[in-house]
Structures are given as structure tokens and as C-alpha cells.
């Protein structure tokens, strides 16, 4: 198990007080805090190794190149990329998904299908929507009443025209952990590629892309203790060899003439321009930190916290409180998304114009919930969490979300529920 109190000592921001009170940081699905080790690695790079990589014929540049490439190897090992796989450094999971959608789609034409799910983040929906203008058809797997993906429906959605299945490993709203091995198998049996959004899984549980069998995986550094502006796209070198470069520029080329150019090897072929060197080094330090804790331990720590949260929810019976996500902890990550009362979807015609009378919504708006919790320094997120199709499915305009990480404690969860109870008492009409 993780000793959260010991872990907290590595995070200077957790010592900060606002209004004399400590910060209860529960917005980890948005971004995590950074341990001293990560910040030190970045500072060390700038103080001792800063130079541009790959091209310099001097020792400083060779050392910086070595640090950057060793960081890549470390990240590759962390996700189980294997000797045939690699990680392309990108800005974040969003850029990784855009890269795959834009470049793999060169093989797609009218009538080809891309299968997504209702629980996807906008970053795994909108890049694929761009393909609709070339006639690509988007299909969506819906949820079961237990907040899991409906695999039977996926079976029926898959056809010989299905070319891509792109699904999140863990929902950033529901916390649902999807059976990605099975989904990948179903995709491959239908000759579709399987793209995995690992933004909410790589930081929180053991993830081994080789054993999952995905063709591509996107993830973000800042959600796993690393700095912002760095993320990764996993792919097999052979597949990436066949993909067209995403951006043109320096470093991604082999030779350039006035009218054409040849490409560098993978992964450099996809890393045009001077990359985020400090970001890669910081991410590698984050990976070291997580490896030291053990990803099995990270997962069981979060499992304990979400289990504790669901238990408190059941025991306290706060009026109107409801949450969204699987109750089976085996398929539930450390995300607690909730509302107090009904927060109906915005529907102008139905709700306003026809009746012109007082609206029945008895709920406490998530903005009020978040602001009320903030008065106790409890940081949660409120809104649609970049998952508007899922909000529509839930029949809500917005929700509040608490998401846990390695430095959170059961005491934090208790404070969250104290805050929710206080909010309900204050705002209920």
C-alpha cells in the first residue's frame, strides 16, 4: 500500500495554505500536482545540460540528446512498448489522438467507419468528426445501466467497413475501467485498428500496451505527475513507418530539396522542430517516481479511496446526492462524479417558452457546489468535463467531479463529504 502521508512530503504545493487552511486537491483527473523530484529534474536539465538536441557536435548537446532519448526509453518501458514499439513525444493526449486521426485517415474513404463510445472525452471525438467531411461514418457504443460499455452493441456495430475503434481506457467522468483487451480483440477480428485513450489509465494503474494489444495509445504527462506540454503516442515502428508525418520541419526530415523531402526514422519522423526536452526529462522523472511506488499500489490506493467514498455516500444519505459510475470496484477508477438534485439538460423550448412558469429543477448547480467546496479549500471540477455527449446521455447539464491520486487520504474523502453535506444544507431551496 501507499503511505500517502509520506508521499505528501514530496509535494511542496500541499504545504500551501489558503485562508490559513490546507488545500484538499481533488481535481487530479484534470491535472496532478508535481513532486519535488520532477521539478528538480527539470531544473537540473536547465542548470547543467541545456542545449539543442540531436544536431550538436559538442558534449553538452550529446548529453542533452542522451537525456532526452533515455527519457523516451524509460517511458516506453513504463507502458510496456516492447522492442517493436516506440513513444512519440507530443504535447498531450489530445495531440496524440489528433495525429492518429489525421494521418491514419489518409487510408479512409466514404463509408468507412470509426467506432467511438458515448463516454469519450472531446479529444477522442472531435478529431474523428473532422473525417466526416470525407464521408467517414462515426458510430458510438453506448453504456449499460451499470455504466459500463455495451460490448454486445459493439459486436453489432462492427462491420467489414469498420476501420478504427477508438475508446478510452478509463472514463474521466464515470471512472469506468473498460475491458480494453476484449475490445481490441473484437476490433482486430474485424480488421479494424484499436486506438486507446490512456490519459486516465496510465497515471493510475499498470498499463502494458503489448499485453492490451492496442495499435496506438495516447497519454498525457501532466496527468501523471509530469510537467504540462508533454505527452506520448505509442505505436509500433512498423505501423508508424507507413504513416505520413503529421508536421513538417526540422529534425523530421532526412533530406530536403526544393520540391520534395525524405523522412527521418520513426520516432523522429513525427517530432518536427525542437521538442519539449525539459518536458520529456520531467516526464521520465515522473515515471521513476511512479515506478518507485509501484503501479499496483497506486491502483489499490485509489481503489480504497473510491470504495471509501461510495461507502460514505451510502451511509450519509445526503438529500438529493447521486453519483454516476460503476459500483463494482473492479471496474471503477478513482473518480467520483456527482450532483445534488436534478440538474436538467438545457432545453429552451420545453422548459421555458411553453410553460413560462417556475422551473422545477430542485438541484444545486455544480458551479455553486464547486464554489461552496472551494470555501473549504476543496478543489473539485464542475461542468461538462469535456464530455458533452456523455452529459446528454446522463440527462444533466453538468456535474461536479472529485478525482483522487496518490497523495489523497481517507481524511480528504471525509472532508469532501462534509463539504457536500454543508453545501446541501446551505443551498437547498
Amino acid at each position: 500500500m501507499i503511505n500517502a502521508q509520506a508521499v505528501r512530503k514530496d509535494f511542496p504545493i500541499l504545504n500551501r495554505k489558503i485562508d490559513g487552511k490546507p488545500i484538499i486537491y481533488l481535481d487530479n483527473a484534470a491535472t496532478t500536482q508535481k513532486p519535488r523530484q520532477v521539478v528538480d529534474a527539470i531544473v537540473n536539465y536547465y542548470y547543467n545540460f541545456n542545449s539543442n538536441i540531436h544536431r550538436g557536435i559538442y558534449r553538452l548537446s550529446e548529453e542533452a540528446t542522451d537525456l532526452y532519448e533515455k527519457s523516451r526509453e524509460n517511458v516506453q518501458g513504463f507502458i510496456g512498448a516492447g522492442k517493436d514499439g516506440t513513444v512519440i513525444f507530443v504535447r498531450n493526449a489530445t495531440e496524440a489522438l489528433n495525429l492518429v486521426a489525421a494521418e491514419y485517415s489518409r487510408n479512409l474513404g466514404p463509408g468507412d467507419e470509426v467506432i467511438l463510445s458515448t463516454m469519450e472525452h472531446h479529444s477522442n471525438i472531435v478529431p474523428w468528426q473532422f473525417l466526416q467531411e470525407k464521408g467517414v461514418v462515426l458510430k458510438f457504443v453506448d453504456l449499460t445501466p451499470d455504466w459500463e460499455l455495451n460490448l454486445q452493441q459493439l459486436e453489432t456495430l462492427l462491420t467489414p467497413r469498420s476501420r478504427v475503434v477508438s475508446i478510452t481506457h478509463v472514463s474521466n467522468v464515470l471512472g469506468t475501467i473498460n475491458p480494453v483487451k476484449e475490445i481490441g480483440k473484437m476490433a482486430h477480428e474485424n480488421s479494424a485498428i484499436f486506438v486507446l485513450d490512456g490519459a486516465q489509465s496510465v497515471p493510475h494503474m499498470p498499463v502494458d500496451v503489448s499485453s492490451i494489444g492496442c495499435d496506438f495509445m495516447a497519454f498525457s504527462g501532466h496527468k501523471m505527475l509530469g510537467p504540462s506540454g508533454i505527452g506520448g503516442l505509442f505505436g509500433r515502428k512498423e505501423d508508424l513507418d507507413h504513416l505520413h508525418p503529421y508536421m513538417g520541419g526540422g529534425e523530421m526530415i532526412n533530406q530536403v530539396w526544393k520540391d520534395h523531402a525524405t523522412w527521418n526514422e520513426v520516432p523522429q519522423k513525427f517530432e518536427a522542430g525542437t521538442p519539449n526536452i525539459e518536458g520529456a526529462i520531467g516526464l521520465s522523472a515522473a515515471v521513476d517516481y511512479l515506478k518507485n511506488l509501484g503501479m499496483e499500489n497506486v491502483r489499490s490506493h485509489e481503489r480504497d479511496l473510491i470504495g471509501y467514498a461510495l461507502g460514505l455516500e451510502e451511509d450519509l444519505k445526503i438529500p438529493g446526492l447521486r453519483s454516476y459510475g460503476p459500483r463494482n470496484l473492479n471496474v471503477r477508477g478513482g473518480v467520483y462524479t456527482f450532483n445534488i438534485g436534478d440538474i436538467p439538460t438545457f432545453d429552451l423550448e420545453m422548459e421555458m417558452m411553453s410553460r413560462g412558469i417556475r422551473i422545477t429543477g430542485s438541484g444545486i448547480h455544480p458551479h455553486d457546489v464547486a464554489q461552496s467546496l472551494d470555501r473549504d479549500n476543496i478543489a473539485v471540477r464542475s461542468g461538462h468535463h469535456c464530455a458533452m455527449p456523455l452529459m446528454n446521455e446522463l440527462g444533466v447539464a453538468a456535474t461536479s467531479r472529485a478525482s483522487f491520486y496518490i497523495y489523497n487520504t481517507r481524511e480528504d474523502v471525509e472532508k469532501l463529504f462534509d463539504g457536500i453535506r454543508m453545501t446541501e444544507r446551505t443551498y437547498a431551496k
Binding site: I343, T345, F346, M352, I357, R358, I359, H365, T426, Y427
Partner: protein, 124 residues
Amino acid sequence: MNDDDLQIQLILDHYKEPRNYGKIQNETTSITEANPVCGDTLHFSLLIESGKLVDIRFVGQGCSISQASASMLTEYVKGKSVSDIKKIKPEVVLGMIGIELGPAREKCALLSYNALMKALAPYN
């Protein structure tokens, strides 16, 4: 209780017991404005006679800030001339709310103001 607490009590009072709530039967004009991102919705019903806002009512749905600001604004503008109302600056509404709001929540507070100004635009 500090000043903020008192102000929040005032906001909650307007939120739970909104003033000028409802619709005007013989309204001159009406407007519905919404922030689709968070679902905050306001519908204003206005009665204008000889350049004066004789009556104003609203119905709505959303967070306490959006609803309380609508309630406060109706109290403030009712009975004033349209030309005077048009001179009101958004800061006045933010002042009525009276607590520190981040940029996201300023939109909640100003939904009522923007709706009213839009509704009054054709009148003088």
C-alpha cells in the same frame, strides 16, 4: 460572519426567493438567454410604456449567481426609464453580487445584464 458570508446570504435569499418572478401577461417584449455550457437560462418579460420600464419579471434555471443577479437586476431597473437603464454598466451588476467571482462565474452574473440590454436594444 464576515462581509462575504453576509453577501452570500443575500445571494442565497434572492436565489431561493426570487423577486419579480413570473411572466407579464400583456408584455411588450420578452427574451430568453442561456449559457449552453452550464445550462444557466433566463427568460425576461418586459412591459414598456412611454419609454419607461413599468414592469419586469423573469423565470430561470441555473446556479445561484445567475438567478440571484436576475432577481437583483429586476428590482434595480423596475420603474426606471429605458434610456437610464441603457446607461447601466456591467460593473453595477457585479457590484450587486458583491463577492469575488472568477472569469467563468462573471458570465453567470452577467447573463441577466446581457439579456436585458439585448431586449431593450430596439426601444428608447
